[in-house]
């Protein structure tokens, strides 16, 4: 079976190449079907590998396949090799599985778009890059995938690039990621000089053997965490993710919820033996994760764009993942990553369905009572909501609770971290309930557009194309403005089937790792060969008590939101404070800094480059030319001058020999 490992990334690559060549000819929807089929094929290959691994005893669950030596360079030999162990296979499963569902969804969502095949081309390239990232057996291949997903993220965010705002969002994402990539590269270099290899098996073996220790391990841990901060949108490099909502919704679902943003988590879990020796780097990771979770949750409270709420929610949930990693709770991190992929993709796809039905208006203040018109969307969305709010028996409860329990047990600071996580859970429940109520319940607020002075029709992030052709209610030219007589409609089956499948997964996903009974901790036992050490979770009564507290907190959040938004007992304006809406002004301060002092610095560097460095180069040329011009005068064409020179030289030569002779 290991000889078929290459199929997993190869199929999406083939899809990409075919679409590059003939995508436009295939057209809408065949190019989408081709792309979906490729990713589905990849999923089947992954399942085959998974089954094969299951059949092996636990210690032997690792398949490697090296296709060829990619970079032979002295001592450094980097092969195009794949490593399929439980961790990477888990990642592959949900990347390809959720990816295939989202491809299917996109066929319906992007229908009618003039650049239909290009979209799927980029999506396939993205899946390929993500699989390279996950399956690569060395840091350089992961970096290849890392950069690939970054590039595809840029392409896809600025897919409707004729609107400059979208193009800017894409650039912002790419540049911010690049800052994190510095950490990746320096970490790779450091690993190379310490271990002499960048293959994961070698690195982890060296870490377990104690070769990487002390300051080196801390440095490597911190550097790769910097990379993760960029790619997985943590403080301080998270500013690109909310802007990335400018891309089409399937992109937001696939890239910015389920897959690309989890690459940082994957990287750190892959290198967990190094992290275990990395001392205070783990504290750094845990604290940054916790604080990011809290800050992002506060910002989500005041957002009115349906996708922005989910974007900040993603940042917040990613913070949970890093909290888990920092506290050594790798199984919980992977568990929550998987369940988060399910319910966050579900929520995003659901929001896309809503947007699709509401003429691409994304402002939640224009929604309301949509459960009447879009029952399937509403039902699945509610499943996602309950999951993320941490209500048992939905999957989100189990995974989030495991993270909190692990944090609780983490040394002296653990209680504080646990408390921060708890508050964040409260806020999460609150803002998600707010979103659900505003969108699916209550009065149909768009009916008041035009008559209510507060309700101004908002043109959502504009796109240069037409929207779905099935929207028969749009009888006027401007499709993007909601009118009071608009009737929302449910989405076609290509969009609702993925919603239903994901809803099911979000519902039952908890079975992956049920606590309390060792036999049911499937994920933990599955991942055990890849983990060097684990944080001990609290047992028995403590665990149960913590779980109860978490559930209560979630219900409090839901109830409170219901009070504010459903029963209108409390004025929302008291809660939706301006700091939250403006994201604590973090993004604007970056912009101010880069535009102001940053600009001065950049201009200075440019001046230096133009005057000092170019000046040195040009100066050398000028110097040589000047010297040449002056030396040219020796060649005056006069034979006698030349003869004089020769004669003088001869005298000197004679003198030289005279000095050497013996007297």
């Amino acid at each position: 079976m290991q000889h078929a490992l290459w199929l997993i990334p190869a199929l999406p690559l083939v899809g990409f190449l075919l679409l590059v060549v003939g995508g436009r000819k295939l057209g809408d929807p065949r190019s989408g079907i081709l792309a979906t089929a490729m990713v589905a094929g990849s999923f089947l290959a992954t399942v085959a590998v998974f089954v094969d691994l299951l059949g092996k005893p636990a210690e032997e669950r690792a398949l490697t396949q090296t296709l060829f030596t990619w970079l032979p360079s002295g001592n450094l030999k980097i092969g195009m090799g794949f490593l399929a162990d439980p961790l990477s296979v888990t990642m592959c499963l949900f990347v390809t599985g959720v990816g295939a569902l989202i491809h299917l969804y996109a066929i319906g969502y992007m229908k009618g778009d003039p650049k239909f095949s290009k979209f799927f081309l980029y999506l396939n390239l993205f899946v390929f890059s993500m699989l390279m990232l996950v399956l690569g057996d060395n840091l350089l291949l992961t970096f290849l995938g890392w950069e690939g997903v970054g590039a595809c993220s840029y392409f896809l965010i600025s897919f409707w690039h004729t609107d400059p705002a979208n193009a800017t969002a894409g650039k912002k994402a790419f540049v911010t990621n690049r800052i994190g990539d510095w950490g990746f590269m320096v970490g790779t270099f450091l690993t190379w000089t310490t271990v002499g290899s960048i293959n994961y098996l070698d690195i982890n073996a060296a870490a377990t053997a104690g070769t990487i220790a002390g300051a080196t391990a801390i440095a490597i841990g911190v550097l790769f965490f910097v990379a993760a901060t960029g790619k997985s949108a943590q403080l301080p490099l998270f500013v690109w993710l909310p802007d990335a909502m400018a891309g089409p919704t399937p992109v937001s679902a696939l890239i910015h919820a389920a897959t690309m943003v989890t690459s940082g988590v994957y990287l750190l879990v892959r290198l967990n033996p190094v992290l275990l020796s990395a001392g205070w780097a783990n504290d750094l990771i845990a604290w940054v994760g916790a604080i990011t979770a809290l800050v992002a949750a506060t910002v989500a409270i005041s957002q009115n764009d349906i996708k922005k709420v989910l974007a900040y929610s993603t940042v917040s949930q990613l913070g949970y993942l890093f909290l888990a990693i920092g506290t050594g709770n790798y199984v919980a991190a992977i568990f929550h990553m998987v369940t988060h992929a399910f319910f966050k993709a579900l929520l995003f796809l659901g929001s896309g369905s809503v947007i699709h039905g509401m003429s691409h208006d994304q402002d939640m203040r224009h929604y309301g009572n949509l459960k009447k018109y879009m029952p399937i969307t509403a039902g699945t969305f509610i499943i996602g909501w309950l999951s993320i709010a941490g209500v048992p028996p939905f999957s989100g409860f189990w995974s989030k609770d495991e993270i909190l329990a692990g944090a609780y047990n983490f040394g002296s600071a653990g209680k504080v971290l646990w408390f921060i996580g708890l508050i964040t859970a409260l806020l999460t429940a609150f803002y998600m309930t707010r979103q659900v109520i505003m969108t699916f319940f209550g009065e149909e607020k768009w009916r008041n557009i035009g008559t209510d002075a507060d309700l101004v029709p908002v043109t959502a992030h504009a796109h240069a194309d037409s929207d779905g052709g099935t929207d028969s209610a749009d009888a006027h030219d401007d499709h993007h403005v909601l009118t009071p007589d608009h009737t929302p409609h449910e989405s076609p089956w290509t969009m609702t089937v993925p919603l239903i499948v994901l809803g099911g997964l979000a519902l039952v996903g908890g079975v992956l790792n049920l606590p309390f009974v060792d036999k049911f901790e499937l994920l933990k036992r599955w991942l055990e060969p890849t983990l060097a050490g684990e944080q001990e979770l609290p047992h028995g009564a403590t665990l149960f008590g913590l779980a109860v507290v978490a559930v209560v907190v979630g219900l409090v959040g839901i109830g409170f939101a219901g009070l504010v938004y459903n029963r209108k007992r409390i004025d929302p304006a008291l809660i939706e404070r301006e700091e939250f809406a403006k994201g604590w002004w973090i993004d604007s301060s970056y912009a101010w800094f880069m535009g102001g002092p940053g600009r001065v610095f950049f201009d200075g560097v440019a001046w230096f480059d133009g005057h000092v460095i170019d000046g040195a180069v040009n100066g050398a040329a000028t110097l040589v030319r000047g010297a040449g011009l002056r030396l040219k005068r020796v060649q005056n064409g006069q034979v006698r001058s030349y003869a004089m020179g020769i004669a003088a030289g001869a005298v000197l030569l004679v003198g030289f020999f005279v000095t050497r002779m013996g007297f």
Partner: protein, 202 residues
């Protein structure tokens, strides 16, 4: 440290006379105005050198010196002088760089001084490479034979190359000295200082 033996025999007298002729000729080449006079002074120097060759026992070389140098080369010089009619002097034109003559004197003095020091003060004559040359001993009774033997065995390669050199020189001379069939040189590119004189017919 001139180690001249004070027995002033015929050899020494011949040598002195020959040297005087050489020096007078050399000075004449440099100092006389008329190019024909210069050529004739050169002949004098060449004869003096030939005599000294004989005194050194290099009979063959002396003969060749007279035949080739004095007989062919100087004659060639005289041909060209007569052909071009440059028997007037160039000293009418003043020397433009005043420092050339003193500097030339200095250089000459330097050369002379250096060699004199080497000749007079050296205690042991060493070859440059330190190894003695071993082309073969002199045999005054058969110097032609000795030269010939060495020339055609040890230095055969150089001999052949000089043959090629002579051929090339002859061809080069023919090519360079023939009359140009193309037009005159472009005056704009190479301006003349004086008006162009008419061709001297051969």
């Amino acid at each position: 440290m001139l180690a001249v033996s004070f027995s002033f025999g015929i050899e020494q007298a011949v040598w002195v006379v020959a040297s005087i002729i050489c020096l007078l000729g050399a000075v004449g080449v440099v100092a006389l105005r008329n190019p024909v006079h210069n050529a004739l002074s050169l002949v004098a120097t060449l004869f003096g050198v030939a005599v000294i060759f004989i005194a050194q026992g290099a009979y063959f070389l002396a003969a060749i010196q007279v035949m080739v140098y004095a007989g062919a080369i100087v004659v060639l010089f005289l041909f060209v002088i007569m052909l071009l009619g440059v028997d007037r002097t160039e000293e009418d034109i003043a020397e433009q760089n005043w420092w050339r003559r003193p500097l030339a004197g200095l250089v000459g003095a330097g050369l002379l001084g250096g060699v004199l020091i080497a000749v007079l003060l050296a205690s042991n004559a060493k070859t440059v490479t330190g190894k003695p040359s071993t082309s073969g001993a002199l045999d005054p009774s058969d110097d032609i034979g000795t030269i010939g033997r060495v020339l055609f065995t040890r230095y055969i390669w150089a001999f052949e190359i000089t043959a090629v050199l002579l051929t090339v020189a002859v061809i080069g001379a023919v090519v360079l000295a023939r009359k140009q069939t193309r037009g005159p040189i472009d005056l704009a590119e190479f301006p003349l200082d004086e008006p162009e004189a008419e061709e001297v017919a051969l």
